[in-house]
Symmetry: C2
Subunit: 263 residues, 2 copies
Amino acid sequence: MKKSSIIHHPSSITLNIPTKVGIFDSGAGGLTVVKSLMEHGLFDEIVYYGDTARVPYGTKDPATITRYALEALEFFKNFDIDLLVTACNSVSAHAIPELRANAGFPVYGVIEPGILALENAGLPHSSRILVLGTRATVGSGRYQRGIKELGFENLQALSPSLFVPLVEEGIFEGAILKSTLDYYFKEIPSPDAIILGCTHFPLIADAIRDYFPNRPLLIHSGEAIAQHLERNGCKPGITEETKLTIFASENPDALKQIAKKWL
Amino acid sequence: MKKSSIIHHPSSITLNIPTKVGIFDSGAGGLTVVKSLMEHGLFDEIVYYGDTARVPYGTKDPATITRYALEALEFFKNFDIDLLVTACNSVSAHAIPELRANAGFPVYGVIEPGILALENAGLPHSSRILVLGTRATVGSGRYQRGIKELGFENLQALSPSLFVPLVEEGIFEGAILKSTLDYYFKEIPSPDAIILGCTHFPLIADAIRDYFPNRPLLIHSGEAIAQHLERNGCKPGITEETKLTIFASENPDALKQIAKKWL
């Protein structure tokens, strides 16, 4: 994990604290990452772009996801951003090397930060870890490899594909959610920690945690990337309020409505 | 309903029976339409194109759906098709006029055929009709207007957004499906007929029918378009087997696997 290759620390920290961040997501889910960045008071300005015309990414192929991410990168080049965060785990799993090679500014995914958050949680290596993500994210094996490198061997990864549509339908409780949790989890031994490896999952985090009798530790991409950026020199912005500008490949108004509700 | 504007009957029927059809769908769902066409023995050759890199369409905007449909049309122009069927209800709801204006061959949607199938079922006008479709399809109001024009006033339209992901997850029975049906249907008076206005819904048709104590009549886009094409001069192909060629905007192999399973 070469942190120096991710963000290039300037010689004069004071003058070069990044203040404007681009957040890329396949749709609305990345707003959970925006929320964390705002709660940490990072950045004066956030430019959000959701590829709502092609959402979801998590069911798509790595080559398609990378192509879409590179197209989004061209969009962000029109803004004077200091760094780019790919809030979407599926993008973070597949497109980071290509994005970094073409960006001209630092690019952060959410997978490394999630793995580091697990490391920082200080759990014993015998702990049972459950990774939840889209088919694209779990299929990449990136969380699994990183977590094994930390020394955790008791590891399982799952793609509960119905979680995203449930959240998008606004279902955060009730019989469908209960039977869906049961469908995916009933054979799963109670984990000590769960990686919520998709931006939608924090919205049903309580239900996921409560399903397991030991109430496992949850690792949330938004919180993980916010802490990771702080560790890498990002500081609270100088302005009181963060300026958030939202763009979308279709229907930005719908995205703005969701942002109002979630943030 | 001007049938003459849909297909241009040639003077010599024998020589001009369409034998090669293009089927356009947002993904795999349109294979339920392919199945119906094959069961009716229509066409010698079927060229199927699923826009799997951008699926689903049903949650997207009309302008986006129309743009994608026109791009697909360019794809079909590379093949010498006699007519094009848009299996996807969301495309049929929004893009038919634009497609017809640009095609150079007849273009059929599945909504008109579905409405005609309801008319041909001969139900009394007091019957209760339930239309199920994606947000894009129901939002267009096309089924609703057509059904009201037939004289049915007792009409309700619903977007059970979880049905598509359930089918894609291969869930055709069990607790999740039961609680999902309950979620959408528990306040709905038992209908006399249900329009299955999405290519995925036929795969859970039995569960939908069985939910209602009176076991309503179901209208299926694939069956409706097959009958409609027969009424409009399409005849069984001269070859014994239909040649099916499958294309996709990503991962055609996955689509071919689904085709093997469904057909």
